[in-house]
């Protein structure tokens, strides 16, 4: 009888140890490696250009989706969409990165401060830009969290007819 109790005790401790290791490993991969409870966001900017009697109408649909399992505190400061333009000033003699000129920055999501897990926020913007023969345009959407981290999506569209390399603005 005493031997049976001892065996049961050993089995109990072995099973408990294995369960602890398996549970710990699962928690490690789920929460640490999988970053389940880290702040995670998917930001998207969807732009459209439409010329309209001397103006360029730029539609910018800004979207942020909380893809983590914890709420995300949005910081209104710095959460914005910015519009840049690039103008061809001269014939480049070598490869170089384009210089961007800021046309404006507009706040997005107002005073909305909390994004629940799985929640999607979307805000459309209609921007008007004087049609000035820009070679390229860039929309950049940035979301800041209260922790200071930020997410950013930027998209560039080039003017298909800007190959003549003239100063057009």
């Amino acid at each position: 009888m005493q031997i049976a109790v001892s065996i049961a005790d050993v089995v109990y401790h072995v099973v408990a140890a294995v369960a602890l290791i398996v549970g710990g490993g699962w928690a490690y991969f789920k929460f640490i490696k999988g970053r389940t409870l880290k702040e995670r966001l998917r930001v998207t900017v969807d732009g459209g250009l439409e010329p309209s009697s001397g103006l360029l109408r730029v539609t910018a649909s800004c979207e942020a989706e909380n893809i983590s399992l914890r709420e995300l505190q949005i910081a209104p400061e710095g959460t914005a969409v910015r519009l840049f333009v690039h103008t061809l000033a001269e014939n480049p003699s070598e490869a170089r990165e384009a210089a961007w000129e800021l046309m404006g920055a507009w706040s997005v999501f107002g005073d909305r401060e909390v994004l629940e897990p799985g929640e999607v926020l979307q805000e459309p913007k209609l921007l008007e830009v004087p049609e000035g023969g820009f070679a390229a345009m860039m929309l950049e959407f940035t979301v800041y969290s209260r922790s200071g981290s930020y997410w950013q999506a930027a998209s560039v569209v080039t003017n298909r007819q800007a190959g003549d390399n003239q100063l057009r603005r």
Binding site: E39, R40, L41, R42, V43, T44, V45, D46, G47, G48, L49, E50, P51, L56, I67, A75, E77, G78, A80, R82, L102, G104, A105, W106, S107, E131, G132, G133, F134, A135, M137, L139, F141, T142, Y144, S147, G148, S149, Y150, W151, Q152, A153, A154, S155, V156, V157, N159, R160, Q161, A162
Partner: protein, 59 residues
């Protein structure tokens, strides 16, 4: 820019580390744009002209 209904899209999930200076720069640009647009609206509605007359800079 001669364009005809061009669409462009970008998505990202990359988290960037805190950058306070960049955040303050964007916020400053947002306020500068709002201030500029506010003054343009006042110009269009005639308030700007009234203000200039009050200040004696326009007859």
């Amino acid at each position: 820019m001669s364009t005809q209904n061009i669409r462009f899209r970008a998505t990202s999930t990359k988290a960037h580390p805190p950058d306070k200076a960049r955040q303050e720069e964007i916020e400053r640009q947002v306020q500068e744009t709002a201030r500029r647009q506010g003054s343009q609206k006042r110009e269009r509605s005639g308030e700007g002209a009234v203000e200039r007359r009050k200040n004696g800079s326009e007859d």
